[in-house]
């Protein structure tokens, strides 16, 4: 079953299957699995649409989103949580660190749907 965005955001539908992720943990590990070159088109597609997305989501009941609004919300949160490597001009999607990110454990709101 393919998830659908609200009709006015049909141009972003192409990102839904892989980028509309439900949790911080899922977004984080998806980000780490991408290269900067894979991340950039998503960033470039989302940034100019962000004002309209925020306006649309702001009319939805906070915490009670379902259906297309929920998919758009997940997509927007993924955008917000994966923008920093582009904006901070990193060469990769991860910081330079000897600590394997897989060692980090996610709990509570970092592991659950945030709504």
């Amino acid at each position: 079953m393919s998830a659908k965005l609200p009709q006015e955001f049909a141009d972003l539908e192409v990102w839904v299957a892989q980028w509309a992720l439900p949790t911080e943990k899922a977004r984080y590990f998806w980000l780490l699995g991408r290269s900067i070159d894979e991340l950039r088109p998503f960033y470039d597609a989302m940034l100019p649409r962000s004002p309209q997305i925020i306006a649309y989501l702001s009319k939805q009941p906070a915490g009670g989103m379902t259906g297309p609004a929920q998919v758009l919300y997940d997509l927007m949160l993924t955008f917000v949580e994966t923008a920093h490597p582009i904006e901070l001009k990193w060469k990769t999607t991860d910081i330079e660190t000897p600590v394997d990110p897989a060692r980090l454990q996610f709990h509570g709101p970092s592991a659950a749907r945030y709504s």
Binding site: E24, V80, Q105, H107
Partner: protein
């Protein structure tokens, strides 16, 4: 060793008695297993230890299960029907099973053991022994949960594992007690991470109690949030050592440039780290414990609650950090981020931006710990040297030596 001389060429205002501080510390001896055993007995069995926050116990019946590694003890912390917060060993009085899982949070009227359904009220009383006619001579009233000393101060819930604590919590905390007002009220969890690192707990605490490193270690994640032309080395504007604990404030860089997504997230919600809203902390009634030095362009405070808890508090968010020693060579770090309660989608965006950016900074902070620990274990460099800006570390080790020196 003499008292530390006053710093020069710095904006830092130092407060407190520095006479027991040393700027050269033998770290090697403090990462040895024999020293660790003394620390467990003389620090962790005596100190008031924060185990959770009042934000995680919002209503009557709210509870958390917390494992306290240095004591190898699991604790059940619960807000009773009388609103009092109590702590108990998380041990069923029948055969010793755990009543709740470590890390579990929720809200219950009573705690029923999954093994044989013995049930305990939130005040610890045993209220049900199933099939009780089969127990010969059992007096239920003698099988209440085993209490652990527990008190609340500000946003934190503390326990003390001593049979009879030497100090009250107020005495233990000194000026950290009773000075936060309503600053932390109405906050909610927005992120929670943990990691087990192969490093002494000292080294892990030390990574978060100085700002000297931020210009270098965090250059990729926080290029301009502090410092700026008036404070290029990001000196702390205010730094205070207390009888047991220590804290400092950080100053925002007025020239901080928000990135596009930082800006849209914080415009949709409220401004959070690494952008800092202007707060009039000199206003009458503003809590004395927040921005205690009343520095201008205030960004956040960092407080080490000795021995192993660090609180980072900003205007609309705070971060609780536990550095629980597992043994001499391992520390479990638990981080919980809190922010003002979300009322809108915009607030959720702001929270999400904060947690993602902050997570990367946190991971950078972790990156030095195992290397330092391995270096100390070689034994070739027993001592580390500490700057004036690293005075919280100086205080940490002065406290370690004081408490370990008391049989």
């Amino acid at each position: 060793m003499s008292a530390v001389p006053a710093a020069t060429k710095s904006i830092t205002i130092f407060k407190g008695d520095t006479s027991d501080l040393k700027n050269v510390v033998n770290l090697m001896e403090k990462v040895q297993p024999a020293h660790f055993d003394l620390e467990v007995d003389r620090i962790y069995r005596r100190a008031w230890l924060p185990v959770t926050t009042t934000a995680d116990l919002p209503q009557r019946g709210s509870y958390v299960g917390v494992y306290v590694p240095p004591l190898k003890a699991s604790v059940l912390v619960v807000r009773g029907q009388d609103d009092k917060v109590r702590a108990f060993y998380n041990i069923c009085r029948h055969r010793g099973n755990k009543l709740v899982n470590d890390g579990e949070q929720g809200c219950k009227l009573a705690f029923s053991c999954p093994f044989h359904a013995w049930t305990f009220a939130a005040d610890g009383r045993c209220v049900l022994v199933t099939d009780d006619t089969q127990f010969v001579g059992l007096d239920k009233s003698k099988h209440s949960l085993l209490p652990v000393h527990c008190e609340v101060s500000g946003p934190l819930v503390f326990v003390n594992f001593a049979e009879q604590p030497k100090e009250t919590l107020a005495e233990w905390l000194g000026d950290l007690h009773g000075n936060y007002g309503d600053h932390f009220d109405g906050r909610e969890q927005i992120a929670s991470w943990s990691i087990l690192v192969k490093a002494s707990w000292h080294i892990t605490v030390n990574a978060f109690t100085e700002g000297y490193h931020s210009l270098f270690l965090h250059k990729a994640t926080l290029p301009d949030y502090q410092g700026g032309s008036g404070n290029p080395m990001r000196h702390r504007p205010f730094l205070e050592v207390m009888q047991r604990h220590a804290r400092y404030s950080a100053k925002a860089n007025p020239a901080h440039k928000m990135t596009p997504v930082e800006e849209l997230s914080y415009n949709a919600g409220r401004k959070l780290y690494p952008a800092f809203p202007h707060v009039d902390t000199s206003a009458p009634g503003f809590p004395a414990g927040v921005n205690p030095g009343r520095v201008d362009n205030w960004a956040f405070d960092i407080t080490e609650f000795f021995p192993c808890f660090v609180l980072i508090d900003g205007a609309e968010w705070h971060q609780a950090m536990w550095f629980w020693p597992v043994d001499a060579d391992h520390t479990e770090i638990r981080v919980v981020d809190y922010a003002y309660k979300a009322q809108s989608v915009g607030d959720r965006l702001a929270h999400s931006y904060l947690r993602a950016r902050n997570r990367e900074v946190f991971r950078e902070d972790i990156s030095t710990m195992e290397a330092i620990h391995a270096s100390m274990k070689t034994g070739v460099m027993p001592e580390v040297v500490l700057s004036q800006q690293e005075m919280l570390l100086q205080k940490h080790y002065a406290m370690v030596e004081r408490m370990v020196g008391q049989p």
